[in-house]
């Protein structure tokens, strides 16, 4: 396989990611190298100390709250800057090079993610209009207050974000906090800090001069952001989810463990494209990518499905969106699959690691069948196309589908779909021929962020 489109051998110019606050950009003495998947160093990211973080938060808390309409207008302006402009000397092409190289994703995917973020920013007036409780007003001058109304109030002044770097798309969520009148500090991932850097620069240029900050820190200081902020949004694995489980101020975005289920009233053969896209789009690295497929029927049915799916996933069109990884990481992931997949039946290519350049590898899809729909392996989520398949009977109930960010239910059975909708541990339900990765501005991803940031207050004037 040749190198994915847009992954040039030359490294781009040396890139710095520094802290950004109201006072401007700050290059710390402490930093760590930024590396491409093959280990080449392409820049450095500052690591600011606790005192820098606390001083930044003191300013964020004191930032004036601008009128709602002003904030929305500034966000639309920021969307244009982010998507098209030269921001702090960085062209959109330079930025896309950095993102695709660092995240190891094809340029086309990076580009699509960036367009999606800009779209989300522009759609904020509409999406927030949908999110606001029907009885609530946003202004003290709203005439409904004369009768008594709900006022949509912030639960705090500041939001801290611990971002992840697996896809630029994760940065589509937190900007809505700016629309709601919060000040926001983002701790970028050192794997791909360029998207939040560009967003923060764009927001500043659009007028959020004192309302947004980029605070790159080492692990030892990371908690200082959460401690200082009124609310926090934290991306991480199960350990992170467990760590903050008892802290109501922290909203975690943990493993997605998204699943697709096909009931026997539909023919899975007609939905292979949809299911393959759920598994492999976004490089298989998004929390909405399908991790497990449950096929109603017996093991033979699951095996037949797996075989057909393996053929579909091996097609070059699907395979072109593969994430490049350091060779050592790819090998570790492959070994991990062998370990946790003991006792499963493998379909498709056996040696999944393919070296594309010295030090860089891609992973071919993993398609494995386990005879037991209760097997914990169905929850093993890895950052490349890796899917666990199990036979499923209605007698199992919906237990195998619980604890999922998305369940795509390819079914005609609305009673079954209703059960999924009523299950608290499933965050999103896509019914019919939809991918798990389907998204639309205004449709919540893991609830609306405003559920975490806002509350209603009774008010009469």
């Amino acid at each position: 396989m040749s190198a994915p489109e847009g992954a040039p051998d030359r490294a781009p110019v040396f890139a710095h990611v520094d802290a950004i606050t109201e006072a401007g950009e700050y290059r710390a003495r402490a930093s760590k190298p930024l590396r491409l998947p093959d280990g080449r160093e392409i820049g450095a990211i500052s690591e600011v100390p606790r005192l820098y973080v606390t001083r930044a938060f003191a300013r964020l808390s004191a930032a004036p709250v601008l009128p709602y309409a002003t904030r929305l207008a500034m966000l639309a302006k920021a969307a244009d800057l982010f998507e098209n402009a030269v921001v702090e000397g960085q062209s959109i092409d330079d930025y896309l090079d950095l993102v695709s190289l660092c995240a190891g994703v094809p340029r086309a995917i990076a580009h699509a993610s960036i367009a999606a973020i800009a779209r989300i920013l522009r759609a904020l007036p509409d999406t927030l209009a949908q999110e606001i409780p029907r009885g609530a007003v946003t202004s003290i001058d709203d005439p409904r207050i004369r009768e008594g109304a709900a006022y949509w109030a912030r639960q705090g002044r500041t939001l801290a974000v611990h971002a992840s770097g697996n896809t630029p798309g994760v940065h589509g969520l937190w900007p809505s906090a700016l629309a709601l009148g919060y000040s926001v500090a983002v701790r970028p991932s050192s794997r791909e800090p360029f998207t939040p850097q560009r967003l923060v620069r764009a927001f500043r240029e659009a007028g959020f001069a004192s309302h947004v900050a980029l605070l790159p820190t080492g692990h030892d200081v990371a908690d200082a952001l959460i401690e200082q902020a009124d609310r926090a949004l934290v991306y991480g694995g199960q350990a992170v989810v467990d760590k903050y489980a008892a802290n109501p101020a922290v909203l975690t975005q943990g493993p997605g463990r998204s699943k697709t289920v096909v009931t026997d009233d539909v023919d899975w053969r007609e939905h292979l494209d949809t299911i393959a896209a759920s598994i492999a789009s976004l490089g298989g690295a998004a929390c909405t990518c399908t991790t497990a497929v449950l096929v109603e029927g017996d093991v033979a049915e699951a095996n037949a499905f797996a075989s057909a799916l393996a053929d579909r996933l091996a097609e070059s069109e699907v395979g072109k969106h593969r994430t490049e990884l350091p060779s050592a990481t790819a090998r570790q992931l492959a070994d991990h699959v062998e370990r946790v997949g003991a006792g499963t039946t493998s379909f498709g290519r056996d040696d999944i690691v393919e070296t594309v350049r010295p030090g860089t590898a891609v992973l071919h899809p993993v398609i494995r069948v386990t005879p037991d729909a209760k097997s914990p392996v169905l929850g093993v989520e890895l950052p490349f196309p890796c899917v666990w398949i199990a036979p499923f009977t209605r007698a199992d109930g919906i237990a195998p589908l619980t604890s999922s960010l998305v369940v795509a239910a390819i079914t005609e059975d609305m009673e079954f779909a209703q059960q999924l909708l009523d299950e608290p541990s499933i965050a999103n339900v896509h019914i019919g021929a939809h991918t798990t990765t389907w998204m639309k501005p205004g449709v919540p991803h893991d609830g609306y962020l405003s559920e975490h940031l806002m509350r209603t207050k009774g008010v009469i004037r």
Binding site: R29, V48, T54, V170, A239, Q253, P255, G256, Q332, L382
Partner: protein, 371 residues
């Protein structure tokens, strides 16, 4: 049986003003005769002489030869104070205190601080880090460990030199370490806040001219605007030690929070029975650089895997040496790392900059989940 006076021990007399011994190798040779002579050595070293695979009396001819010594630092955990007294100091040399290490690497190690060494080392330190405040009568606020830790007694002497009163808030660093080991981050935060609250009360009510404390306290003070105001209006000098201050925090404190107030660090360890003081001249690197009281105390900065010195400007692990007639604690590989900086003219060993705790790296493992 020979009389200790038969030797000429004069080269071993610590001179806080001279600072340099012109012939450090000759100094080391005489020191070996002292510590391994049956009339002058301590029971601790005399007992260990037989276990060494070299003869310190004949094989250690230079400063470099001190590297022959194994690192016996762990033995100081189980040694009685009496065993640490060199016989050559006489029947009842005046002891200022028995100090203990912080307990970072296990049970505490114990060392004897003789009054004679303490006085001389403090005289050197006072001259080296001259504040111009000696005898001014200003009051010292010390939020530092007391008890078995050296810094508490140092602040007693410091305050004496200033000629003012001494206000103290106690810190128990061993309890802090326990909280960290147990992962009790909330308890740790509460304890640090407790220290800051107590410190704040003295700052608010008393006439404080100088502060001696640890870096996290300065950071926490800097986070409270009302305390920043109090410090700016009252305090003429801030000293810190006992822990590490990262260079960015140091720069923010000096340039943004407390501009115009000297902030001076000390890098101390019970295992050298002294504190290395921060160079007055601003370094081109902007990093705090520390000089020990050479040749009585010296550092080497080495690659821990090979034991060889790292290049100047490179980071390595610190080897500490205390070599006086009061104690012999050679070749002790500490947990701290630092950047190797050339020692001052005529000094032996290295100066150290940007001291930091040893980084420990966990093995790589797969973290499940995509987020």
């Amino acid at each position: 049986m020979s009389d200790p006076g038969a030797h000429d021990w004069s080269i071993l007399d610590v001179d806080p003003l001279q600072q340099t011994v012109t012939d450090a190798d000759a100094y080391v040779r005489t020191l070996m005769q002292w510590h391994f002579g049956p009339e002058t050595g301590s029971p601790f070293w005399l007992k260990r002489k037989a276990t060494l695979d070299f003869d310190p009396l004949t094989d250690v001819k230079s400063v470099d030869d001190l590297a022959l010594f194994p690192n016996l630092i762990d033995d100081f955990r189980d040694t009685t104070a009496e065993e640490l007294v060199p016989r050559g100091l006489g029947d009842s040399p005046k002891i200022a205190a028995i100090f203990e290490s912080g307990g970072t690497t296990g049970r505490p190690k114990r060392f004897v601080m003789f009054e004679d060494w303490f006085t001389r080392y403090l005289a050197w330190a006072g001259r080296k880090a001259a504040s111009g405040l000696g005898g001014s009568g200003i009051n010292l606020l010390a939020t530092t460990p007391s008890g078995p830790h050296m810094i508490g007694e140092v602040t007693v002497r410091q305050s004496g030199a200033l000629g003012g009163k001494r206000f103290t808030i106690d810190i128990d660093p061993r309890w802090v370490k326990k909280l960290i080991e147990r992962g009790q981050a909330d308890e740790l935060r509460a304890y640090v806040d407790h220290l800051v609250d107590q410190t704040a009360d003295i700052l608010a009510t008393q006439d404080v001219g100088m502060i001696q404390t640890i870096p996290i306290l300065l950071t926490k003070i800097a986070e409270r605007p009302e305390l920043v105001e109090l410090v700016r209006s009252k305090v003429k000098r801030i000293a810190w030690g006992g822990a590490h201050m990262d260079p960015d925090t140091r720069a923010i404190l000096r340039e943004e929070v407390f501009p115009g107030i000297p902030i001076v660090g000390g890098y101390g360890s019970t295992t050298i029975l002294s504190v290395a003081v921060e160079r007055k001249e601003e370094q081109p690197s902007g990093l705090a650089t520390f000089d020990p009281f050479s040749p009585y105390v010296f550092f080497r900065v080495v690659d821990p895997d090979t034991g060889r010195p790292v290049a100047h400007g490179e980071r390595g692990q610190i080897v500490m040496n205390h070599i006086t007639k009061f104690a012999l604690i050679p070749n002790n590989l500490e947990r701290d790392t630092a950047i190797r900086v050339a020692a001052e003219d005529g000094h032996i060993g290295d100066a150290v900059a940007d001291v930091a705790p040893v980084q420990t790296f966990g093995g790589t493992s797969i973290t499940e989940g995509v987020y």
